[in-house]
Amino acid sequence: MPRPDAPAKVRGAFDFASDLRAEGMLYGRTVRSPHPHAVVRRIDTAAAAALPGVRAVLTAADVPGKPFYGLDKVRDQPVLVGVGETVRYAGEAIAVVAADHPEQARAAAAAVAVDYEVLEPLTDPVQALAQGSSLRNLVIRRGNPEAVAEVVVKGFYEVGQQDQAPLGPEAGLAIPDGEGGVDLWIATQALHVDLRQVADALALPPERCRLRLAGVGGAFGAREDLSMQIHGCLLALRTGRPVKMWYGRDESFVGHVHRHPAWMWYEHGADREGNLVYVRATIVLDGGAYASSSHAVVANAAIFGCGPYRVPNVLMWCGAARTNHVPNGAMRGFGAVQSCFAHESQMDRLAAAVGISPLEIRLRNAMRSGDRLITGQVVSGAAPVADLIRRCAELPLPPPAEGRMALPGGAGNLAEAADISRGEGWALGYKNIAYSEGSDDYATARVRLERRNGHAVALVKTAAAEVGQGLVTVCQQIARTELGVEEVELEPADTLIGDAGSSSASRQTWMTGGAVREAARLVAEEVLKRAGPPGRGLAGGQVVDDEGAPLAPLALLLDEPIEREFEHHHRQTGKLDEDGQGDAHVSFMFVAQRAVVDVDPEAGLARVAQVATVQDVGLAINPLQVHGQIEGAVAQGVGLATMEEIQTREGLIRNASFTDYLLPTAVDMPEIVSELVEEAEPDAPYGAKGVGEPPLIASPAAICAAMRAASGRELCRIPVRPEELSGVSETKPPRELIPGQPPA
């Protein structure tokens, strides 16, 4: 079944947030700090305000409500940094302007005069943590944290900072309602999460700010935090005119959070057969200047930091430093990506030390249903890890590279086929689904069944954000399945209905999908009540009996439409105690991957030939979309392993463009061989787990392992750089830390 929005998208007729327009619309623009750390001493807006076409220039003094926003309970990010206040990262917003033409807005933004007292930026996250500049520290202790073992391997690992790089820029259109309220059309992952922050900043009751989902050009975590939401509304309310804002790509790099870069010190102990005895690890994440979602990213990096294995004894220390970098926060995989690179590299080291294969070490320690995480939580649902590994090993290997374009260096014509060596690498990954650590996670859906031109039509309304993942298809499928009608219309997502939470953490099929199912079942119940016995079900637009034989057209029962709403909560999770123990998560998803990479060891070039991936998805509601999610996530893993990195020096991003921040293109993409292991998840609606994140957790580790196998180099850092792959240079730890101990 094709996605309902695809026909409009292929015709160029689907409106993304940056495509919106309104009569009398102005263009907004943000004035940003060029310094990573500074005190604002003076802001002079007079020259900017006097320029032609300029309608408003606003500063912190113009924010009527709460001056701070943020995702965490501690909202710590200024809406605008005011006079006497401190700038904490380069790119932080100081003022906003609105003008008739975008070029006039650009000129006005440049004309806002700001005096800064420049301060020394804190840019070293290890040092920051050592001096107590932290967003969260978490310790997990399990069993005997000081356990000893016969075979011990140690390693240091580093992960560069990845950008989500959704193609659609941050954008939105704010339209004042003439009565002091505002409607904001916005590309976001979570309408209600935005709403709470926007309404507070505007000092408006939430019902007077209506957030409406505009077309979202990808997200991957980049749209969890606010970008232009408050700024656009401030300008619209001040000018009384619609205001559109969209970020150019350079601005986008400072306009959203990124994946936390990570520095990780690990020690694994095992017996002579390779059975894990203990893991001790220290994980340092750079949280940047503000909290964003660092709290939860720290938890994930730590909790999943030993991989999907049985580990009896653990000492894990994980902290996110507060530095003067652009804040880091959510990106697909959310902490698990970083620590997976470390624990999987360690498993390979351990296999070598014990003298068994990478496959065997993983099979020997693979987590099973009923095992405990390092937090003590029992995995109550499906955990077919060994099965994933075995099935992945059976997938066909790729043929040797043929033709220059398929060799490392490709069109650059650099490599000779005879110089290429091919390596194979393995990785397992796992992660939670949905919100954790005691959050009341829920989603709301309303389903209405009515008669139109003689036949039954279902309408589904939620506030859940379709960001490209295909939730619209899944919601339609669910309504069709439950109500037995062909025609299902999805109403626009907005805050006129209850919260659906964020399109994050692989949670919407479970959460909003679950809410749609339950609301539809309540509607079906009412239909059957109207029909009376022997009506037992709905199918093909008919009420049917026990045998499935049609009794009466559904439409005949809809003289009065039926509408039901349902709020779907998942099982309550718990907090972690002081030893990092607790049932913090509701469910888990697993993946096994094998990567095959061709390497030119002299030039330091690599081409990923194939990624074989076998994933535990519960039951797949829409296999086409499931495979699409897997392939897309692997592509982002290829990027992180081989090319994608935001480069920051002295607190400034040096490659804020798609010219300098490299993304995998059609020629970089490996062949993907993908299989699903379908085991119904007990608690999940239709037994379906989430899908979008696991492939990106494992693939960077698997690809780097294959590069190690092909080159013989240590390669302790991703993305792997040519100078490291060729052996010209080597990544060293920024300092020596004892695994399990905090930076001192």
Binding site: P2, R11, G12, L167, G168, G628, G632, A666
Partner: protein, 152 residues
């Protein structure tokens, strides 16, 4: 200044500021929002259009420089069977997720297939290397190319 183009078979004109790109004029002046603005630097291909039959990034072309030209955008792709075949195949193969890159891919694939109706695997990859997709990993887009080619 005033510029005029033939866009998707219609003669259109607009008053523009000298610095405006063809992309800006198509979108903000002429209301053709199908061409997208992902990088505005010629790297991502989401603003791909045909300018006098040549595949270009509209963000890199000054509107003034395109004065008097023939422009075909994604909105004009339905007008011929290659364009329609590409659009249908993209929908059926699952080549569309968020869809922001999709208009650019539709134009680039149609351009490829109009020149080479049965491209090999590597030729497809090379031809599409100027279009970035962040959602799909390209796999289903490659499938869409082959599906469309098989129908032409």
């Amino acid at each position: 200044m005033r510029v005029s183009f033939e866009v998707n078979g219609r003669q259109l004109a607009a008053d523009v500021w000298e610095g405006e790109s063809l992309l800006y004029v198509l979108r903000e002046r002429l209301g053709l929002w199908g061409s997208k603005n992902a990088c505005e630097q010629g790297e991502c291909g989401s603003c791909s259009v045909l300018l006098d039959g040549q595949l270009v990034c509209a963000c890199l072309v000054l509107a003034a420089a395109a004065d008097g030209s023939r422009v075909r955008t994604v909105e004009g792709m339905e007008a011929d069977r290659v364009g329609r075949a590409v659009q249908e195949a993209m929908v059926e193969a699952g080549g569309v997720q968020c869809g922001f890159c999709t208009p650019g891919f539709v134009v680039s694939i149609a351009d490829l297939l109009s020149k080479d109706p049965h491209p090999g695997v590597l030729a497809v990859r090379e031809a599409l290397a100027g279009n970035i997709c962040r959602c799909t990993g390209y796999v289903r887009i490659f499938e869409a190319v082959q599906k469309a080619a098989s129908r032409l």
